[in-house]
Symmetry: C2
Subunit: 581 residues, 2 copies
């Protein structure tokens, strides 16, 4: 049924799809890739600076994360258009893990980021090679949405301080952040707030309103969106010029990015000598899972638009290599960013060649333009973060989920609140644990229906929902779920209770909805059969699926029932049992 990903291709194109892609591509495709890569770079450079500040790291670290890791992904990933680099949620998870770990030591903090990247990469590689990608399935959509919303609110909270120039303690909880901001509101820096506020307004205008305005003067929708997405770079350049002009740091004491080292660091394995690997392992595990889930969801959406395939296990490996590369390149964990990949796709990227072009431009920027960043007010970067993560906040979704499914709504709400109250990591664990518990609860309560025949037909339906024929000596029970240990005790209890009526001489179990019976289920059925037979009642099976029947053959249950008491259809069972009595 399921086709293995590109099993017929040569090994090198399987593990390095990019090479095959470029060999197959014509000139139009390649020139489109160059254009898309350039546009993505324009979006990425300010984001990279911002997200490294969000992670509590020097701004250049974000640039490093945008060069080597996406190049590695370009050669190993199966998505043609995923743009890998620093992302907001992973950045805030890095900060949450490193503030307690480093305890104020900046060198330890930076080294911790490299260890996190290396651990995240190794965990991803292990998941990819051991084909454990299915474990990430256990983060349900509601939990992920709740988590992202909570993390985004938390990020906005932290950035409010930088936007207004109010100082808050590092690693403060959400409640403490709000409290500090409220108490210190009078200490705000008006010039910082002006830079931040104007930047926020411009960035918001650049989204919907600018696109609409451009549309009115005849610019195509797609081009308008792309122009809007390049706005952050123009805001950054304007802010640098303005801040330099008025000497914002000297005259108004506003926080600026400051000196940024030129160029890229040589790849190095020095971080391996640092301690703290075990301490940072749980955080790395969570970053790995969240980074993977974020990347794979956007990769899937984009791949499907062009009817291409994604190999989830190879994605885990590719992101793993990218994160190990991040550690060697002296930077933070990376993932496939949603908005960035969308821009890349919309700008016409066809292969990962676009990512190589983006990396080239970011690398050039690191060599040529770092001097310019000295005067960039940090409040502008905060504005970029706030506007970027604001779209992740999904409160309407919570209402939506609640109205569709109460259990999922509770899981989503608890995750959101948990992230704000107990912090990023504990909130996520709480949500995943709760969702799993609710899931187990649900599977432990299968739907069991007593059925009867709709007069004049061969259709059998729930006696409580339809007007049906029944026979007092005959109990027809349909089990609407696989029978396995999670629901075995309940099925047993229900069957016991249903068979209590002493008029009953024959019980027919209808297994049309059962695709699997595990050992616990089999033993339960054997016990039920023996107990029923002790009290003079015979058990029959009807509509057993092929694979289930194959497994049942050779069991004690099947030996006792024999072919006589296993029927293809309910109708045949009813016919025979009614004629016999």
């Amino acid at each position: 049924m399921q086709q293995k990903y590109s099993s017929k291709k040569a090994a090198y194109t399987r593990f390095f799809p990019l090479i095959g892609d470029i060999r197959r591509a014509d000139k139009t495709v390649l020139s489109q890739d160059v254009l898309a890569g350039t546009i993505t770079a324009i979006l990425l450079i300010p984001q990279a600076l911002a997200y490294s500040l969000l992670a509590g790291l020097p701004p250049e670290v974000g640039l490093y994360a945008s060069v080597l890791p996406p190049i590695i992904y370009a050669f190993t990933g199966t998505s043609r258009t995923l743009a890998v680099g620093p992302v907001a949620v992973a950045a805030v998870m890095v900060a949450a893990a490193l503030v307690p770990y480093a305890a104020g030591d900046p060198e330890k903090y930076l080294n911790g980021a490299l260890i996190l990247s290396a651990l995240t990469g190794c965990i991803m590689l292990a998941m990819g090679f051991l084909r454990l990608g299915w474990l990430t399935n256990f983060i349900s959509h509601p939990v992920l949405t709740g988590f992202t919303t909570g993390a985004a609110l938390f990020i906005v909270g932290t950035q409010l301080a930088a936007l207004t120039g109010i100082s808050v303690p590092k690693g403060a909880s959400f409640a403490m952040l709000l409290q500090t901001l409220a108490l210190k509101i009078h200490t705000y820096n008006p010039v910082t707030a002006a830079f931040g506020g104007v930047a926020v307004v411009l960035l918001i205008l650049a989204r919907q309103p600018l696109v609409i305005a451009l549309g009115k003067i005849g610019v195509k929708q797609q081009s308008a969106v792309i122009i809007g997405r390049t706005a952050p770079l123009f805001v950054v350049i304007t802010a640098i010029l303005l801040a330099g002009l008025i000497d914002a740091q000297g005259n108004f004491d506003i926080a600026v990015v400051g000196l940024v080292p030129q160029g890229l660091p040589m790849p190095s394995l020095d971080f391996m000598n640092t301690e703290g690997w075990v301490e940072l392992l749980p955080a790395a595990g969570m970053i790995a899972v969240i980074a993977y889930v974020e990347s794979i969801s956007v990769a899937k959406v984009l791949a499907f638009r062009r009817r291409q395939k994604i190999d989830p296990d190879q994605e885990f490996r590719a992101l793993g290599f990218a994160n190990v590369a991040a550690a060697c390149a002296g930077t933070m964990p990376v993932a496939g960013g949603f908005s960035r990949s969308m821009v890349n796709f919309d700008a016409g990227a066809r292969t990962q060649l676009a990512a190589l072009v983006t990396a080239l431009f970011v690398g050039l920027a690191a060599f040529l333009f770092t001097d310019l960043l000295e005067n960039l007010p940090k409040a502008v970067l905060s504005a970029i973060i706030v506007v970027a993560v604001w779209q992740l906040i999904d409160i309407k979704g919570l209402k939506h989920t609640w109205s569709y499914d109460k259990g999922d709504g509770v899981a989503q709400g608890v995750t959101l609140v948990g992230v704000l109250v107990f912090g990023i990591e504990h909130g996520l664990m709480l949500g995943v644990g709760l969702a799993l518990l609710l899931f187990l609860y649900r599977t432990s309560r299968p739907h069991i229906a007593v059925v009867g025949r709709i007069a004049g037909t061969e259709h059998y339906r729930n006696i409580h929902r339809h007007k049906v024929e029944t026979w007092p000596q005959l109990l027809l029970v349909r089990i609407d779920e696989n029978i396995y240990f999670a629901n075995t005790p309940r099925v047993e209890t229900e069957l016991h209770n249903l068979a209590l009526d002493s008029k009953i001489t024959d019980v027919v179990l209808i297994l049309s909805g059962v695709a699997y019976i595990d050992t616990s289920g089999l033993e339960m059925l054997e016990t039920i059969e023996q107990e029923l037979s002790l009290s003079g009642v015979r058990l029959h099976l009807a509509e057993v699926k092929g694979p289930v029947l194959d497994r049942l053959c050779g069991t004690r249950l099947y030996e006792r029932l024999g072919e006589d008491r296993v029927y293809l259809s309910i109708e045949k069972a009813v016919e025979k049992l009614n004629s016999a009595s």
Copy 2:
């Protein structure tokens, strides 16, 4: 569908079923109960002494566990015939928890046992009142069998030392036990070994061979079994007389029970002042679950034989009260014993009055006969333990499970080996964790089939298993599992891959096997529908179950599909889509 347990009865009979039972019963029933209670007491007294030694406690503690706790259960439990008291597996779990806890201090050890009882009781009460009994479903039969077999082997190992008079360190692992026994084999005490060996042989003979012999001389099967089950008491009495006669302790240095305090202790809450509640909590949690699972399985079997009902939540509460009572009565955790309950049932017990009679006799014994126990060789009690737990060892079951289901076989084997290698508690946790992981893995891979029409019928079957008609522009996909977050990513990937063929214009999802779609599943379907529609493919649903359709109404998916693209049967969908094209 499901009937609430005795919801129509008055509250007092609901919470105290015994009162109603006795009021309804006639004299025959009551006299049968008195007889059954007496026979059970004969079995219970030697078992109670033996199991308290197994738990590392003074022998009288087992007697205390057989008086107040079963009385409490008699008034609160819903099983008419469950015999509550000390059980082997719980006893060895108590020892496993208390040896490291008490570190050689006997007073701390005894107090620890009371804390364990109290905690076990409180956990059971919480599970009962919060209706969390379903959590115990997650101990699958194979894990339970593996655990019981491992625990029984471990118990036999510990008792080999007592049976032969070889001294081994307390709290030794299974490997260390075997090693010590092998190294110290020359230090065995011949008289101890003789007492132990003869007792084992007699007890084994009393099971099958004696029953068969009695049958041959005309005794009824049931009576013969009951006579066989009273053998331990006769073995104990004979051993006491013999050991007294030869002054076994003085002349041959064999371990005897020694002085046992007369009577029963006054119920007390002194144990509450002891420390260690948090330390013993995990062990108590596991004892609570295992004790409950053991009790409820035998209670269910016995109840069903007389077509009576068990209320699983009330059972949790009743066992919880019994264990809290055990703590107050100065004794160890209790549960419903399998062999004991069987004897009680076979001897004709109809109500819990039998348990009151048993408790009365054990209480009398504690007042009148404790002096007699002084000369009882401990090896005889070990013999009783070994013969009792030997039947729990189920190696054949492991082969059986493996041949039916490889995953279950692995879980069972790992639990068994885990108990022996890592100890009782860790082995159990390992097994439960592994079974849960295998279960999650299984549910994350639903069966998805592309179907076609069997020519000339309205039946649609898997294209890989049957010769069927298909249409190039039409993809008919049947999903054979509820769609929820655990399998959503896989369903999405498979649907993506199946829909890659550019000839396809319509995809029909057949949901006949889907009883539930959670929020993650719904969002996945919405995404798939939008993506398909972007590439000019329409999504349709067929055979949606009533409850699923009810929930889908009002969602964005349903709004987009409308009634037009939701079909009652596959045939109708195929008809319409073929006529349209």
